[in-house]
Symmetry: C2
Subunit: 296 residues, 2 copies
């Protein structure tokens, strides 16, 4: 089985897990439940639950305990997109070729659906206590899930990003890296460290996963900035040079293309080296490689 076949199989497997944990659309609140499920089922790479599963398996995790956390993390990722797309935020009408939640269900219901998904993520993760009650690893995983998604994690990055845009702030490199780390890397770190913790990995191993998550997230974003300059419009599906045109500070505009490529390479190579040291399976390494060397 080649990488792409294996990837497709794993996506199917993960979507089954997510499907198991989605709420039934019933009762007087049926509409908000429909809007929640519509958002989650809009597709996507299912990258975060996949990384969680890979980390869990790599450290010899056994049983079902990781499943509610996989579904929960995807719900958190999804709610953040639903709220990001709102008119008061990015005002996007389409995502992955489908109408966004507020376009289909109205703005009020999209706000509620986002709230509902964030809340349901914790309702879902709590089910791990039924699988392994009174287990401190599950409690630790819960704590990571909450922290990485919150104001000192993803939401913190969104805040800095929005302010930079609203205030037309010229970003410093420090602030840009903060945004990349919090907005993108935080949930990837959440995926990798929760997988490791639930599998019983030790502190040093969890710290390594945290480092790898940082590198993947930031390298992914720098690659995004690089592609905006060097990308192939046909592969990318969006105009190149849009960051420069929008006068947007990116890693490339701040340090130059060569330096950006060098840093992206350093982060990527370190992530791969660390994964190999942890004896990651071939698929896990290829998955990470495909993320950070993507051309679209």
């Amino acid at each position: 089985m080649n990488f792409n076949e294996e990837l497709a199989n794993k996506v199917t497997e993960i979507e089954e897990v997510i499907g198991e944990y989605l709420p039934k659309e019933e009762g007087n609140q049926k509409v908000v439940l429909e809007a929640m499920n519509y958002s989650v089922l809009a597709g996507g790479k299912r990258l975060r639950p996949m990384l969680m599963m890979e980390a869990f398996n790599m450290y010899g995790g056994q049983g079902e305990v990781v499943k509610p956390f996989m579904a929960a993390l995807e719900m958190i990722h999804t709610y953040s997109l639903v709220h990001d797309d709102l008119p008061a935020m990015d005002n996007d009408e389409y995502r992955r070729g489908r109408k966004t939640t507020h376009v289909v269900y109205g703005e009020a219901m999209a706000i509620l659906a986002g709230d509902g998904l964030l809340n349901y993520a914790f309702e879902t993760a709590v089910k791990a206590f039924q699988i392994r009650p009174a287990d401190q690893a599950v409690e630790k995983a819960f704590s990571i899930l909450a922290k990485k998604a919150g104001a000192f994690g993803m939401i913190g990055g969104q805040c800095a990003d929005i302010l930079a845009e609203v205030r037309q702030e010229k970003l410093t490199l420090e602030k840009l890296l903060f945004i990349h780390e919090k907005k993108t890397a935080a949930l990837i770190q959440s995926a990798l460290t929760i997988g490791a913790v639930l599998a019983g990995a030790n502190e040093k191993q969890v710290a390594t996963m945290e480092q790898i998550g940082y590198n993947i997230g930031v390298a992914f974003q720098i690659q995004d900035d690089i592609l905006d300059v060097t990308g192939d419009i046909n592969k990318l599906g969006k105009p190149i040079g849009s960051d420069e045109k929008n006068n947007k500070a990116t890693y490339v505009t701040l340090v130059g293309l060569e330096e950006a490529k060098k840093e992206q390479k350093r982060l990527s190579e370190e992530a791969i080296r660390l994964l190999k040291e942890e004896h990651a399976q071939e698929f896990f390494i290829e998955l990470v490689q495909s993320l950070i060397t993507r051309e679209s």
Copy 2:
């Protein structure tokens, strides 16, 4: 000490607990943290954490474990107000005489601040695991917190309420009770049952708290509907008869004033009777009485 003095003392005590758990306003995400704290510190009766503390004490609860849950529940209540006040929802510019969060911080930041508070509620509740690790009562409390706030609890009530308004639906009594139960009673039930569970109450006692929470929440809302017809405009601070003018279905318009008063009385008396059977302290009983017999 009379009831009002004791109430004022308890509010001060609870606000100290909440203050301990609020995030520090620092870092590149300082603004969203400020908006979160602004919303929580806007005042209010602190009713939910107070009911939680009373239930915890009534069942002989010991130690600090209830505190993070008290703060968490108030954060959940607050985020729901922040999002409710948004232009796409109720579009309120003032709450308790202060400008609402989106008026002060802008709409995008108010959405994020609400998300941040909901998420921070779970980050805060998780701290109870540091106080009592590997403890199934804490896990159960966590599960209640998440469920009562979510799409099958408070958010479910908000969904039904919004739809009735948007679609100009004529509410049935069943749907009106659903909205009252989910939108108002759910978090009161959350307060009372979490307090009981953390104190080690048995299943029957927890079920009694659930029943009392239902009665308080629904009686409170029926009283609201009654006051809209019979209230003293000077005490109420808002015009009477506004529900009828807005063609809004209420408990009174659906069953008539006399029947509404009768049902309100029945729910209230049952709540008080159950509390007395559980040997609630005098303050707890007076607190509940003041809630359901209020004239403003």
